[in-house]
């Protein structure tokens, strides 16, 4: 395990609407994830998991509470403490239920673009992107468009893109939902490997209880409330 906290949230609350239409989507959610730690976030649909993920992903600001990433306070209530888009680019990697690759870019270009946006030269970005695809076992499909890749291959490319800028945290929203159990297990193990080897804090929203063994910590959410759960034994 690496030293230091990758993610620290304190009393995150998100309220939609006001008065009679007020809905509390998330209440007092507090989470800490160390660098190199893989955390699962479980809960039924509508429990507030995605709201929490978008809040720490700096996409959907909380109504109150704070978010620290890599020790830096980035959200204090709804107010951002930095340029969020730049911060996302440098510190956060995203993986989604669907691979969410850019359809007009090849596998390698999907990874390369993330690096180029962060200032890496095209030549260097291409080289590093190829190394990442190789690391994730999809180097042989580097020039294929997303539509020519299988679901598992697309998800691996998405993971490669999430890792492109060596982020402090990786946020994954049901990354195995579109995959069969074997591929799903492989992707979950991949997250664990990436976290442990590269020292990133990983938060994975999942319904898939079969792969809970790969997680270091488990959080559960229900009706907007978060609690730290028990780590499951085995998958």
């Amino acid at each position: 395990m690496h030293d230091g906290f990758a993610i620290e949230t304190h009393s995150l609350t998100k309220v939609y609407g006001s008065g009679n239409t007020e809905v509390i989507a998330m209440h007092d959610a507090t989470m800490t994830v160390r660098r190199g730690e893989v955390a699962a976030l479980l809960g039924p649909s509508g429990s507030g998991k995605s709201t929490f993920l978008t809040a720490i992903g700096l996409i959907n600001p909380p109504t109150s509470g704070s978010v620290k990433i890599d020790g830096q306070l980035v959200m204090d209530g709804p107010a951002s403490q930095t340029n969020l888009r730049t911060f996302r680019r440098k510190h956060i990697g995203f993986v989604f239920q669907k691979s969410n690759l850019i359809p007009f870019l090849s596998a390698i270009e999907n990874v390369q673009i993330a690096m180029e946006l962060n200032g890496t030269t095209p030549r260097s970005a291409r080289k590093q992107a190829m190394e990442l695809l190789d690391y994730l076992g999809v180097a042989d499909r580097a020039d294929g468009l997303p539509t020519a890749l299988s679901g598992g291959q697309q998800q691996r490319v998405a993971v490669a893109r999430a890792l492109a800028n060596k982020p402090s945290i990786i946020l994954a929203d049901e990354p195995t939902a579109a995959l069969d159990s074997h591929r799903g297990q492989q992707v979950m193990e991949l997250f664990a490997r990436v976290a442990h080897e590269q020292g990133a804090g990983v938060v994975v929203v999942t319904h898939d209880h079969r792969s809970l063994s790969v997680f270091d910590t488990i959080y559960e959410m229900e009706d907007g409330l978060m609690r730290k759960g028990e780590k499951a034994e085995g998958g």
Partner: protein, 403 residues
């Protein structure tokens, strides 16, 4: 990495078809400008080619290109005697429509002042100039006659001895050149029956005339051909063209002729201006308005296409924002595609126009200033029409990549 290029490469077929559509629209805009230039060029072609310094026309008229002008033939001799005049020639010009080889033949007849003018200044593409003062013609190829073809006009038959290119009247008819005498014979040709009726009418008027009562022998002349009657003037000409001798004071020559009470004078430039401001001006304004409307339509169509292209990429744009792409990258993606679409459309318009415009019944002249102006307009349209797409793209939330 150039995202605009990558996106175009990915959906090249659709993009190419869109560019062809835009190109055809721009070709029409380009063509409208070319049609105006063609009308202007055709209208001033004869004035520019014929090479004269001063036009002498009927008093208080605007000359043969604007209205009917009649001056006596002997005006040529009067003009020739003015100090500083190098040459003076008749100008006869009228439009006819006749049947030939079973089809309607419309043409403008230009009289060349034989033997001074044999048509050396005409832009011949085949054949030769006139070699005799009767029954030969030089025809523009747009008339549809071929070299050596014989064509009956009036009572006489003319042989095509030369073919010109782009000798078109202001009304778009091809010009044929014959001698002045032949041009007048064609213009004033009447049927035998009409001649007989005129002679009878002349005799009838003579019987009632006091002059014939005093000199009955005059009645003997009444049924002779008109050109044998000394009291009747020869057919008149439309104008007289004067060329000033090298070194002579053109203004002084003009002042002398302008002092004659029966004629008005125009310089070559003022005749040209009269044509452009008179005959061509309304066409220019009409075409100009259509051009503005077409440009507006092109801008709206481009804006809608670019907006649709942007909507198709909304998810990718949201994703780019999510992974931290700055707005300049998104803006560049849409703007570059807009400019590429505009430039490609313009190039297609140009090359399509080069193939299609020569087949138009009237000349479509593409001049560099118009092409550069249109290129500038296309660039402005491209940028302006991308604004709607840019506005939409900048409003996209990264959340849309997750949903």
């Amino acid at each position: 990495m150039n995202l605009a290029y990558k996106d175009i490469r990915h959906s090249f077929g659709r993009f190419a078809l869109t560019a062809v559509g835009i190109g055809m629209l721009l070709m029409i805009v380009m063509g409208m400008g070319g049609i105006y230039r063609g009308i202007e060029g055709d209208a001033t072609l004869l004035i520019n080619s014929i090479g004269t310094d001063i036009w002498i026309v009927q008093r208080d008229t605007r000359g043969p290109f604007a209205e009917v002008s009649r001056v006596p033939t002997n005006l040529v001799d009067r003009a020739s005697t003015v100090p500083g005049v190098a040459t003076a020639r008749e100008f006869v010009y009228h439009t006819i429509q006749r049947e030939h080889a079973g089809k309607s033949l419309r043409m403008s007849v230009l009289g060349l002042s034989w033997p001074t003018d044999k048509g050396d200044w005409l832009p011949l593409v085949a054949g030769r100039t006139l070699r005799q003062n009767h029954y030969e013609m030089i025809a523009d190829k747009s008339v549809g006659l071929y070299l050596g073809e014989r064509c009956k006009l009036g009572k006489d038959t003319y042989t095509v001895v030369g073919i010109t290119a782009n000798m078109i009247s202001s009304s778009g008819d091809g010009i044929i050149a014959v001698t002045v005498d032949d041009a007048q014979a064609i213009q004033f040709d009447t049927t035998g029956e009409a001649v007989r009726l005129e002679r009878a009418a002349r005799a009838a008027r003579g019987v009632r005339s006091e002059l014939v009562a005093k000199q009955p022998s005059m009645l003997d002349f009444a049924d002779r051909p008109a050109n044998e009657l000394p009291a009747l003037a020869r057919p008149q000409v439309s104008a007289v063209m004067v060329r000033v001798a090298p070194g002579a004071d053109a203004q002084a020559v003009s002042d002398i002729i302008a002092g004659w009470g029966d004629v008005s004078i125009f310089s070559q430039q003022s005749q040209r201006d009269l044509l452009i401001k008179g005959t061509v001006d309304r066409a220019r304004r009409q075409i100009g308005l259509i051009r503005v409307l077409l440009t507006g339509v092109a801008a709206i169509v481009m804006a809608l296409i670019l907006y649709t292209l942007t909507l198709d990429k909304i998810h990718s744009i949201a994703l780019l924002k999510l992974i931290g792409a700055p707005n300049t990258v998104i803006l560049g993606l849409i703007l570059q595609q807009a400019l590429f679409l505009g430039v490609l459309g313009y190039v297609i318009a140009y090359f399509l126009g080069q193939k299609i415009f020569p087949n138009f019944p009237r000349r479509v002249i593409l001049v560099n200033t118009d092409l550069i102006q249109l290129a500038g307009i296309v660039l402005i349209i491209s940028v302006a029409s991308s604004l709607l797409g840019i506005w939409k793209a900048l409003r996209v939330s990264p959340n849309e990549a997750i949903g």
